[in-house]
């Protein structure tokens, strides 16, 4: 994360490893980052989720092809029962499969995703395996 000229007003805090954003304002922040001249982060490198036990952290890595700079944006989603965050598929379509995978393996729901189904595991699988507290039901 190298260049950052100005930050939008929905941000929470910023540190060395990224800019933390409130989950509800993820969509506006992403649109701003994509379209703002001078930032123009038009490429989504990856969307990941990390399970820190009290919260899930959704991490977006963005790059701008025009200016060759990268940014890391994070959002903390609290709660384990039904964590949800707006989907950025309308901003970058590349988030499609990655958000489905996060729903499948971590259980974070993406609001506004057109096709939020399991992608790696089969329909009918119970649970979200990549969570830290996943207990496999099948005993070998």
């Amino acid at each position: 994360m190298r260049l950052r000229e100005r930050y939008p007003d929905a941000a929470e805090q910023w540190g060395d490893s990224g800019l933390w954003v409130k989950p509800e304002s993820v969509l506006e922040v992403m649109k701003f980052l994509k379209e703002e001249p001078g930032l123009e982060l038009n490429y989504l490198n990856s969307v990941s989720a990390v399970d820190f036990i009290e919260y899930f952290e959704v991490v977006y890595h963005l790059t701008s092809f025009k200016y060759n700079h990268s940014v890391v944006i994070k959002a903390r989603v609290y709660g384990r029962e039904d964590p949800a965050i707006p989907s950025v598929v309308s901003v970058w379509q590349g988030a499609d499969f990655q958000e489905r995978e996060i729903w499948d393996l971590m259980g974070v729901r993406f609001l506004g995703h057109p096709n939020l189904k399991r992608i790696m595991l089969w329909e009918g699988f119970l649970g979200h395996p990549l969570r830290k507290d996943f207990q496999d039901t099948v005993q070998y």
């Binding site: 490893s17 038009n42 490429y43 989504l44 490198n45 990856s46 990941s48 990390v50 399970d51 991490v59 890595h61 092809f65 060759n68 890391v72 970058w92 379509q93 590349g94 988030a95 499609d96 499969f97 990655q98 995978e101 393996l105 399991r118 992608i119 790696m120 595991l121 089969w122 395996p129 990549l130």
Partner: protein
């Protein structure tokens, strides 16, 4: 006499000789025209990301080999770069040069597989594939000299490469470098001027540039659509800033452009290897590291390389223990598949097989 027709959904199942692995496609056809496509994957999901949380940093190198099993050197390189960023490790010079030589040899091998199977999908069953595989065998022999394994190499470690090259590696590499350009020329001459290939792949499966960028494609797919972007030039790692090479770019984003980009990238890889062979210094190949690697708690790093399929990235989060807390693998083949619907709807069945071949997916990477 009018015939009653209706659209039919066909399952191009996970076991199929043309799907490049266990890839399933549910296609809705109207006659031979494709109306809708739904890719289904997960058949090779082995839980690599969860397994990585239970192995220490050096053991994960063997897990990374098996991601894109056709190009395992670059998988190792991406992972080792991420670990080195996480822990602030410096790699010695000879180690960096050896990494680049291995990665570029792997790029040639992976593109030979891609081109061979692309030609097989076009209908030339067997013979061009075996021409490509004959050259790939020579590269795999070089890998066997380097580290003992042909496919799942585990040659690189965090801090450099595993050990130095044997003495008979360098004459064999020079012999290879002397002979392979004529073989690539032979392949080019047989194929790029071939009218059947031109007619079947020009303007088929066009991916416009804005769509490619919006859908996070990378590698030859993005370059075939016209954007001259290569992570080896944009964010250089190892010794890529000291070697000169060009980045081939297509103009139309059709199958022929992607095929052509891969052929030219093989020639550029040969240039890089020749320069590295001249520049490589003597010295250690691996940094002196403790037996058990730990990273500071809360540290994280995103390391990426330009693998033959695209941008392969590892996002590592550490909590201070001997294994990463989270190891997320950003796989190029999975994201290149985002454009499947755009590339296939409206074309015919025969084009579908060829277009899937030109995306060059590898299911080990898609499913992890």
């Amino acid at each position: 006499m009018p015939i009653r027709t209706e659209p039919i959904t066909v399952n191009i199942g996970p076991q199929h000789p043309s799907t490049h692995g266990v890839f399933r496609l549910r296609v809705t056809f109207d006659g031979e025209m494709i109306l809708d496509v739904e890719p289904v994957f997960g058949y090779l999901h082995r839980g690599s990301e969860k397994l990585a949380e239970e192995r220490n940093y050096v053991q994960i190198v063997t897990l990374t080999d098996r991601l894109d099993y056709v190009a395992s050197m670059t998988n190792n390189q991406a992972y080792c770069l991420a670990v080195e960023k996480l822990m602030g490790i410096e790699v010695p010079e000879r180690g960096k040069y050896l990494r680049v030589i291995a990665a570029e040899l792997q790029r040639i091998a992976s593109h030979l597989v891609a081109i061979g199977f692309f030609l097989q999908d076009l209908g030339a069953l067997g013979t061009p594939l075996m021409y490509c595989f004959r050259e790939r065998e020579r590269i795999l022999d070089l890998f066997e000299m380097l580290c003992g394994a042909r496919i799942t190499v585990s040659f690189m470690r965090p801090g450099g490469v595993y050990f130095d090259t044997p003495e008979d590696f360098w004459p064999a590499l020079r012999r290879f470098l002397g002979e392979i350009p004529s073989y690539i020329g032979e392949l080019e001459q047989l194929l790029v001027e071939n009218e059947i290939i031109l007619v079947r792949t020009r303007d088929v499966g066009i991916l416009p540039l804005e769509r490619a960028i919006a859908c996070s494609t990378s590698g030859p797919m993005l370059r075939g659509s016209g954007l001259r972007w290569d992570w080896r030039k944009a964010d250089p790692y190892d010794v890529y800033e000291r070697v000169e090479f060009d980045v081939p770019v297509g103009s139309r984003g059709d199958n022929l452009d992607r095929f052509w980009v891969r052929m030219q990238e093989m020639r550029q890889s040969l240039r890089i290897i020749e320069q590295c062979v001249e520049q490589i210094p003597e010295g250690p190949v691996r940094a002196e590291l403790p037996l058990v690697l730990r990273a500071p708690a809360g540290a994280e790093a995103y390391g990426r390389v330009e693998s033959p399929k695209g941008e392969l990235g590892f996002y590592l989060v550490s909590d201070g223990s001997i294994a990463p807390y989270r190891c997320k693998i950003r796989s190029p083949s999975l994201l290149n598949l985002t454009v499947t619907r755009d590339l296939l709807v409206g074309w015919k069945l025969a084009d579908m097989i060829v277009t899937l071949g030109s995306i060059d997916i590898n299911m080990g990477e898609v499913d992890r």
